[in-house]
Amino acid sequence: MKKKVLALLMVCMMIVSVGLAGCSSKTETAAPAETASPADETVKVGWMGSLTGDQAVWGQCELNTVKMLFEEINGKGGVLGKKLEVIGYDTKGDPQEAVNVAKRLTTQDKVCAILGPNASGNAIPIAPVLEEAKVPDIATVATNPKVTVLDGKVKPYNFRVCFIDPYQGAVAAGYAADILKAKSAAVLYDVGDDYSQGLTEFFEEFFVKKGGTIVAREGFKTGDVDFRPQLSKIKAANPEVIFMPYFFKEVALSANQARELGIDAILMGGDGWPSEQLISMAKDAVEGSFFVNHLDYEDPEVQDFKTRYKAKYGKDVELNGYLVHDAVLMFVDGMTRAGEANGEKIAQALETTDIKGITGRIKISKETHNPEGKDAAILKIVDGKYVFQQKFAAE
């Protein structure tokens, strides 16, 4: 009997605490600047992304970057005389959680803009929430075209700082055909991954358009660790280039296995590649490979940010850090031009963004809310280092 009452009590407490959780708790706030400013002078900015799950490395780097930049901005007096404060929540890369987080940020924390998420699958479902609350969102590496445009109509509150999948696929295909002079290519891709499917589709389309042939197309399932059956088939087709549009962990495994099987084709990939782990897991196998990236790591423009981040956190910046850096710049510029921390006005200002970020010039197109004509960087892996080859724009 006592036990039953206890259990019931526990349940009641939990339900009540849902309500309480709504009213309290401001998690993950950036450390305020030395002088505590009155509450009405802080501007709350939301961030969302993966702090847990398989993309946690990138999410944590994003949040760290935002915190660091906001501290620096606050140190210089803030924006429009107001201090910035970031409120960051974890989505575990789950679309359902992303919707919860978007609702919490817009209705509870009353943020004036949201930075992130990095995954397209999370950026798409939050659109109706943003529209209802009239809060703009700047996605970092959500490269699916449908994040900002749906059925030919631009979503009024969704923006991004990165290029999109068709462009990335076109760049990879163009580089393979024009610069590497490849006539045949094989694609190995993750059938269960949205990003991988998108890149595969556009790479094939543009490579064929350039006069090349796709000699093999093999799929694997998210979480697979053995790629030998698919690679054996690819080996039989004898391509000049193998396109591997997926993330660094699988890239490292499949590259190692490809070399074991004696495949000496050039490996190519997208922005899922760059990571310290890729080099540590498969240094020799990916030697001489090319991939498309958002920026060149050795570019003088990014050195300052790289050293600042390393000095503060003692870790190297991941790719997402650079993009969220530009998302912050874009937000600050938008808010300055809007004249106040009002979501609707900031969204209007963001439509006419034209700034110089560390990943290139960001000129937002009114029709698509994408940065226009952002060059992609082609990087080659030489001696375990990412060596910049050239900026490459697809026609």
Partner: protein, 298 residues
């Protein structure tokens, strides 16, 4: 203030509850474990979205189509797998759930793994609440009918119930089909809440989560399922304060509760008006006894 967020969580809890109710019938009352109900949700979700988007049907009839689609698929699945005993059925459902997800990953008509955006936003707290109430009433009536008692008999002792003349296969089948229909409707509500469907949303993790809710709430208790869905859907949101440690605490909380109450929150009891009255009377009588004895000591 912030109602939107709280209502959002309750809406999600309601959507989960819909599947959990069906699963409660299958696992809690008929004794069959399933690790593939996310697959039924996916079928229902995609079928419902197909009806509203391509055929412009209203929401509720589309949901019915979604439920029906899942029920039909489950009937076929049941026909081939329900003869399997015990764990084997569980493994078959596991395979089924993964197969559905992988098929959807590769059907480009529905966007493949990249997902299907642009689904109209029809689901809100109130229609979820309404549908759940109807679902609970139907389920409660079913369980208290002869059919429900037969299902419980199958759960308790399959062989004995066969001997007394219960058609075990038939009752397992009914249970599976109803639970799949519930899951299908839940999937439809989910798609029209998120305005987006992605096969990733219906992974094995989702199926396990649903089964955990049923066990957590207490096998063989509808009110347990309701409580379980509410608690386990809102728990990750309550734990937001822990940031990246959130899911560790979520796991710990579930383990703690399962250790302290291995039979689940409700443990087969039901929370009905009459049982609450009884509980209240028990507490009051105990207290008055305590007061009485304390007085006696003086």
């Amino acid at each position: 203030m912030g109602n939107e967020y709280i209502l959002g969580i309750f809406t999600l809890a309601g959507i989960n509850l819909m599947t959990v109710l069906g699963l409660s019938l299958l696992t809690g009352f008929t004794g069959l474990f399933s690790f593939g109900h996310a697959g039924f949700m996916a079928i229902g979700g995609y079928a419902t979205a197909l009806m509203t988007l391509n055929f412009h049907w209203p929401f509720i009839p589309s949901l019915m189509v979604g439920g029906l689609a899942a029920a039909l698929v489950s009937a076929v699945l049941g026909k081939v797998t329900l003869k399997l005993k015990g764990d084997y059925f569980c493994i078959a459902t596991l395979g089924f759930g993964e197969a559905v997800r992988l098929i959807l990953d590769n059907v480009q008509t529905f966007g493949g793994a990249r997902g299907w955006p642009g689904i109209p936003h029809y689901t809100n707290f109130w229609n979820v609440l309404g549908i759940n109430i109807v679902a609970i009433i139907i389920l409660a009536n079913l369980i208290h009918s002869r059919h429900g008692r037969n299902m419980i008999a199958v759960r308790e002792e399959e062989l004995a119930s066969q001997i007394v003349g219960i058609n075990v296969f038939k009752y397992k089948m009914i249970s599976l089909v109803i639970s799949a229909a519930y899951a299908g409707i839940a999937g439809g509500m989910m798609g029209h809440y998120m305005t987006f469907l992605q096969p990733k949303m219906f992974s094995l993790v989702k199926s396990t989560e649903l089964t955990i809710i049923v066990i957590f709430g207490g096998l063989g208790s509808i009110s347990g399922s309701v409580l379980g869905a509410l608690v386990l859907t809102s728990l990750p949101e309550i734990l937001r304060a822990f940031s990246s440690w959130r899911l560790v605490f979520y796991g710990l909380a579930v383990i703690f509760i399962m250790i302290s109450r291995p039979e689940g929150l409700m443990g087969g009891y039901e929370l009905t008006p009459s049982s609450m009255k009884r509980l209240y009377r028990n507490i009051v009588s105990k207290r008055s006894k305590a007061v009485h004895s304390a007085g006696g000591d003086k």
